[in-house]
């Protein structure tokens, strides 16, 4: 059926009439291994130094893990989705409601949360075909706000601004600190998994097709790319990935309420992770996530209740100061002249 052949520098996989070459390039593994090691060791250090930092790490992983599918979606559909937190809401509420009313365990609610996010994405997928540029931005901006309205309207089910309590936790290892560490490792694992998936997709032929669609849809259509299929699949896949993060947050915090995640403030945080990290550079999303999470924590400790005002001000300054289009990741990696990087074209 599936035929795997291991050659000197690649693994060749054949199935039916398709063929995949997976190149084996150990020289690119070094950096990944160092950073993964750092990720694994950090919670251990933080546990002894300052346990609150473990929470910050979880937040950072969450931000990064939402920004990575957002990048994938942006390149694959050629449009910027300004309302990714809609799927956080979907995933989170599914997990919360199933856990509270039907007593399902977290691992059971996971596939259902993913399915529901995928289903909602399917329902809204005509947006990707019909709306372009500004219209798409505006309509996707509205979706989470309207979901928020829904949670207020049907307060009986969604419990509006109070939120849902009593969701089963991911782990119950006896102590709160141990729970946090376990959650930190799970969130890091999810983030690394998303990173792996996104990286593999973007570096493969599907990534190239997505790049072509991002650049000029009509021309891509004219050389044989089935643009609608690719756009819809990317949209649904990335939305399902974002739904997983909603599931995680519901089971991590034990409570879930739309007003935390659906308003524009949260969406802006994710967008800033996306932009500060370097826009559609998926490794930059990780850097962005950690930066934003630790900045938030630092500001809360230093400025107290002025933090909600100081945070956007600092982010605005960052927006000005960082290299254009490349954010933090641009500082880390000076590009060679005119290398290919996925760009976002917002058509005028």
């Amino acid at each position: 059926m599936v035929d795997v052949e291991i050659k000197r520098d690649r693994i060749v996989i054949r199935w039916r009439e398709k063929k995949w070459d997976w190149m084996i390039e150990p020289r690119y593994w070094r950096n990944t291994m160092y950073w993964t090691l750092a990720l694994i060791l950090f919670p251990v250090f933080a546990y002894f130094l300052s346990p609150g930092l473990v929470n910050t790490m979880v937040s950072a992983n969450i931000y990064a893990a939402i920004a990575i599918p957002l990048s994938l979606m942006t390149v694959g559909t050629g449009r910027i989705n300004f309302g990714p937190n809609f799927y956080i809401g979907v995933g989170g509420y599914v997990a919360a409601l199933l856990s509270i009313h039907l007593g399902m365990s977290p691992w059971l609610t996971l596939p259902l949360a993913v399915l529901m996010s995928a289903f909602c994405a399917l329902v809204f997928s005509p947006l990707v075909i019909m709306a372009k540029g500004l219209y798409y931005v505006l309509l996707t901006l509205l979706l989470p706000l309207l979901f928020l309205e829904v949670t207020f309207i049907w307060t009986g089910i969604f419990k509006g601004d109070v939120g849902l309590f009593g969701i089963e936790l991911l782990f119950d290892l006896g102590g709160a600190k141990l729970n946090f560490i376990a959650a930190a490792y799970v969130s890091a694992a999810i983030m690394l998994l998303f990173l792996l998936i996104a990286n593999k997709v973007l570096k493969s032929r599907y990534g190239l097709i997505m790049a072509a669609i991002n650049d000029d849809e009509e021309v891509a259509h004219g050389i044989g790319v089935n643009i609608n299929l690719v756009k819809i699949l990317t949209f649904i896949g990335a939305s399902a990935m974002i739904g997983v993060m909603g599931w995680f947050m519901a089971h991590y915090f034990g409570t879930f309420s739309g007003i935390t995640y659906l308003p524009l403030t949260y969406m802006l945080k994710i967008l800033l992770v996306f932009m500060v990290g370097g826009r559609a550079q998926i490794f930059g999303c990780v850097a962005g996530g950690y930066f934003v999470a630790f900045l938030e924590e630092f500001l809360i400790r230093v400025m107290g209740d002025f933090q909600p005002v100081a945070f956007p001000i600092i982010l605005l300054i960052l927006l000005f100061v960082l290299p254009r289009g490349e954010g933090l990741f641009g500082l880390y990696r000076r590009r060679h002249y005119r290398e290919y990087m996925p760009q976002i074209h917002v058509r005028r």
């Binding site: 060749v12 009439e17 190239l208 072509a212 021309v219 050389i223 044989g224």
Partner: protein, 248 residues
């Protein structure tokens, strides 16, 4: 020789304006069909209709015994149609190699072709048009002539049966223009193509085309060999106006 592409009674309206009015013609396999007409006659609209970007209001298009009238553009590419654009439309952020890569991967249903194999295939087409040395340069940085060649390579990489060429000489200096024409003819010979060639410069078509179709205001006014068309009074009148005889 059999007919490879047949268009019957194609009509396309934009609101009240009839851009193409009941045009029918057919192309035989291996032929070069020229398509000429004064400005605004509807040539580019015809290419868009045949390519699938515009839906014809009436008429049928049959490619190699397959009715492609209702097919979306990418399916038509899979059946064997490719086109170049009058003003080159490259993928601005992709390198030349990547642009042709996409065409190679998606142009047809390729069997046993991995991503790396497609890159190899793409370099073959780049080399054919003479862009191999520019393969890693982003399309934004290529010259106009190189962009035209890239368009051609991209169209060829989809291994078409019929290739629509839309004014390949526009905007090129005489040296580049003759290279471009030679490239098209070389491609036709090497890849066994049928060519549908829209052009303004008559000298090229008189030599290269087997037959020419002339349209004016959306209607076909003449069809025949280059000699017949050039000497056709209606055609000359379309270009020069009614009183041309007085000045002949």
């Amino acid at each position: 020789m059999s007919e490879i592409l047949t268009c019957t009674n194609i009509t396309k309206r934009f609101g009240g304006l009839v851009a193409i009015d009941d045009v029918s013609f057919s192309i035989k396999k291996g032929e070069t069909l020229g398509f000429i007409g004064p400005n605004g006659a509807g040539k580019s609209t015809m290419v868009n209709v045949m390519g699938g970007y515009l839906k014809a209001d009436a008429g049928k298009i049959i490619l190699d015994d397959v009715d492609i009238t209702k097919m979306p553009p990418h399916k038509r590419v899979h059946e064997g149609i490719a086109r170049t654009y009058q003003i080159p439309r490259p993928f601005p952020e992709l390198t030349a190699l990547m642009s042709v890569d996409v065409a190679s991967i998606c142009g047809k249903n390729r069997k046993n072709q991995s991503f790396e194999d497609a890159a190899g295939d793409a370099t073959h087409y780049l080399e054919f048009v003479g862009l191999f040395s520019k393969r890693n340069i982003i399309a934004k940085d290529l010259t106009f002539f190189e962009l035209r060649m890239l368009e051609l390579a991209r169209a060829l990489a989809t291994t078409p049966k019929v290739l629509f060429i839309d004014e390949v000489m526009a905007g090129l200096n005489p040296g580049e223009a003759s290279t471009a024409v030679k490239m098209v003819l070389k491609a036709k010979e090497q890849f066994d193509l049928t060519i549908f060639w829209i052009e303004h410069v008559m000298a090229v078509l008189v030599e290269a085309a087997d037959r020419i179709v002339v349209i004016q205001y959306g209607q076909k006014i003449a069809e025949g060999t280059p000699d017949e068309v050039v000497n056709n009074d209606t055609v000359v009148e379309a270009y020069l106006g009614k009183g041309w005889r007085n000045y002949a």
